[in-house]
């Protein structure tokens, strides 16, 4: 009996190893177009760009280093801090020589899950299936001098030894210029806009407290990343505060608390948002698309796009945001796409897009 148990365990371990090997070899199988896509994405998932490149078709005309940059990130962009977490594939079309497969990718990133959907063409090459994975070569910015002499604000505050009546510099004056409570899927959501009315930059946030029918505090939340935190003078940012699982009928009142702090800041960079348009994506969902153009001379590593949607009365009806996974090289347009609630799309009369930026090497 003493020897039976170890033997059983060894057999079980061997069986598990064999099962795992069989499983991965089935994923790696390229006898089908979907198998090729699965094999490629499995290698991407394990951060094996070299292994994944073996499944890239020559027709892609993609160099190995460009492919590696595309799946592993470059220049400190969001993809650099991401890992492919999960993916689904769906065969759209298939014949003997080529197929079209939709891959829905979920990347785990420093700012939460990032979703991506690609319609991949798979072709038969050398008696096996390979994925056409075109990659835009990195934009070459011509050597030039881009004069940047925007402002910077520094702060000198009151010293510890000053008299109690001595003057200090006030926090910037900010104001919530609109607010709209909505309910969506059992969640209570506060939408609105906040303006820095002052002549100095400020770090702003918006907090909200829900008071229940019994006069007690039900919940407190902050806008977190659904806001541009650093606002330059006269800059307006949307904000969105989500209260999960809170029903509107249980709320008696809402207390809004805009907070502002004086912070050192720079007026650089300027990011233009070009060719914004509301349209339908390949799956028929509403999306807001456009291009971001970094008009300054330094790379912006992670752009964060915030969109405010208004109805025909000018009321904010939704705020959505998304992080771009490509860095913004100077003067180079980079496309973005933001999901829009399909049920709201017919009500959207106008919208405004602003861009936050996170730059690794920039001194604030």
């Amino acid at each position: 009996m003493n020897k039976v148990l170890p033997v059983l365990l060894i057999l079980l371990a061997a069986a598990l190893v064999a099962a795992a090997t069989l499983h991965s070899s089935s994923l790696a199988s390229v006898t089908t177009p979907e198998g090729a896509v699965l094999a490629l994405l499995n290698h991407v998932k394990t951060r094996d760009a070299e292994g994944a490149y073996r499944y890239v078709a020559k027709a892609s005309n993609t160099a190995p280093e460009d492919f590696a940059r595309d799946v592993s990130g470059q220049e400190g962009n969001l993809r650099t801090y991401s890992a492919l977490q999960h993916f689904d594939t769906k065969v759209l079309r298939q014949d003997d020589q080529q197929a079209s497969i939709r891959a829905t990718l979920e990347w785990a990133s420093a700012v939460g899950a990032v979703y991506d959907s690609r319609d991949l063409k798979v072709v038969r090459e050398d008696n096996t299936w390979k994925v056409v994975w075109p990659v835009q070569p990195p934009a070459k910015v011509p050597p030039q001098v881009i004069p940047v002499n925007y402002l910077r604000w520094d702060i000198v505050t009151r010293g510890d030894n000053d008299d109690w009546g001595a003057q200090n510099v006030d926090a910037p004056r900010v104001r919530i210029i609109s607010m709209n409570p909505v309910e969506k899927d059992g969640n209570f959501i506060l939408l609105g806009e906040i303006e820095n009315e002052d002549t100095v930059p400020g770090f702003v946030s918006v907090a909200a407290t829900l008071i229940g029918k019994d006069g007690q505090i039900m919940a407190q939340e902050e806008s977190f990343d659904k806001i541009s935190h650093v606002l330059l003078p006269k800059e307006i940012s949307p904000f969105r505060i989500d209260f999960p699982n809170v029903r509107r009928e249980h709320i008696q009142s809402v207390h809004m608390q805009p907070n502002a702090m004086l912070v050192p800041a720079s007026a650089d960079p300027v990011i233009g948002v070009m060719h914004q348009a509301l349209q339908k994506d390949a799956r028929g969902h509403s999306v807001l698309t456009g291009e971001l153009v970094n008009q300054s001379g330094q790379t912006v590593n992670i752009p964060h796009v915030l969109a405010t949607f208004y109805d025909n009365a000018g009321k904010v009806i939704w705020v959505s945001d998304g992080y771009g996974d490509q860095a913004l090289a100077p003067q180079t347009p980079v496309a973005f796409s933001l999901g829009v609630r399909d049920d709201l799309a017919p009500q959207i009369h106008s919208y405004r897009v602003t861009v936050n930026q996170y730059s690794r090497d920039r001194v604030q």
Partner: protein, 282 residues
């Protein structure tokens, strides 16, 4: 411990009026000045002195007992107890020597009504609030302008004023003064919201649309500070393009994508500027 108990008992007992008051202090007294406590009789005894700044106990000789300036530097009511006899006397604040001046806010838009608040607290050299009424003058002015001036009588050591900000932007000197004492604060008068925001557009060498504002000023003619956000927008068949430009040297400019026909607009905060129809219908 027993000594402290005895002191407290004497203090409350005598403060209740049970002591036979035969002690005298010549008044009125000022903080930081010496005084003499007249105690009839002779021989040594113990003086207990209670005041707003603390309590003391010391052996003294009956007769003219000197109270030092250090013992009387805090203004307020004092009680002296000597062998079961007590007297109370009041020490007033000394001459005004310092003003604690609170000026709010540190930045204010030009021509804002009642937007600047100044509160002056009058103190002597021992940090006693000077309670006697004293005229306090307040003056708020940017250099080279007449500014606004007001004189207020301090009540209970405090004088305050609410002033309008001036028309011109710049660092305004906000001065509170009484007698020889002057305290200065700086209130930065800044431009108010932009007034009549206007832009022009021309074609850039690369075909894009170059938009530029005229000098951006508030309604009093003050230049809106550099760094203020001005949003340029272009709407054409390809969609909407926006650039949040910063005012630089009084102007804001941006490059919008090339278009055959577009509507260009400009805004700063909640202030809208003019609109230009670019291209076919220009």
């Amino acid at each position: 411990m027993n000594s402290l108990r005895r002191s407290l008992f004497l203090f409350f007992f005598c403060a209740s009026g049970f002591c036979w008051a035969q002690l005298q202090v010549a008044g009125p007294l000022q903080a930081g000045s010496v005084a003499t406590l007249q105690a009839p009789g002779s021989g040594s005894t113990t003086l207990y002195l209670f005041g707003p700044g603390g309590a003391s106990k010391r052996p003294v000789q009956r007769g003219a007992i000197a109270l030092s300036a250090d013992e009387l530097k805090t203004a307020g009511r004092y009680t002296a107890i000597l062998d079961g006899s007590s007297t109370s006397f009041f020490v007033h604040a000394a001459k005004l020597e310092a003003i604690s001046f609170i000026a709010r806010p540190s930045r204010v838009p030009a021509t804002a009504s009642g937007a600047v608040l100044g509160s002056a607290f009058l103190f002597d050299r021992f940090q006693n609030l000077v309670l006697t009424p004293a005229p306090v003058s307040f003056r708020l002015a940017v250099e080279g302008t007449p500014g606004e001036e007001r004189s207020v009588s301090a009540k209970d050591g405090v004088a305050w004023v609410q002033l309008n900000s001036g028309r011109r932007s710049g660092p305004a000197q906000f001065i509170a003064g009484s007698g020889e004492v002057r305290v200065r604060r700086i209130v930065q008068q800044v431009a108010a919201d932009p007034c009549s925001l206007r832009m022009s557009a021309r074609r850039a060498p690369d075909g894009n649309i170059l938009v530029e504002t005229t000098p951006i000023q508030d309604c009093s003619g003050n230049a809106v500070p550099d760094g203020t956000i001005v949003t340029f927008a272009s709407v054409d068949a390809a969609g909407r393009s926006t650039v949040d430009a910063r005012i630089k040297r009084g102007f804001a400019r941006a490059e919008l994508p090339a278009s055959h026909s577009a509507t260009l607009s400009v805004a700063a905060g909640v202030v809208l500027g003019n609109e230009i129809h670019w291209g076919g219908g220009q």
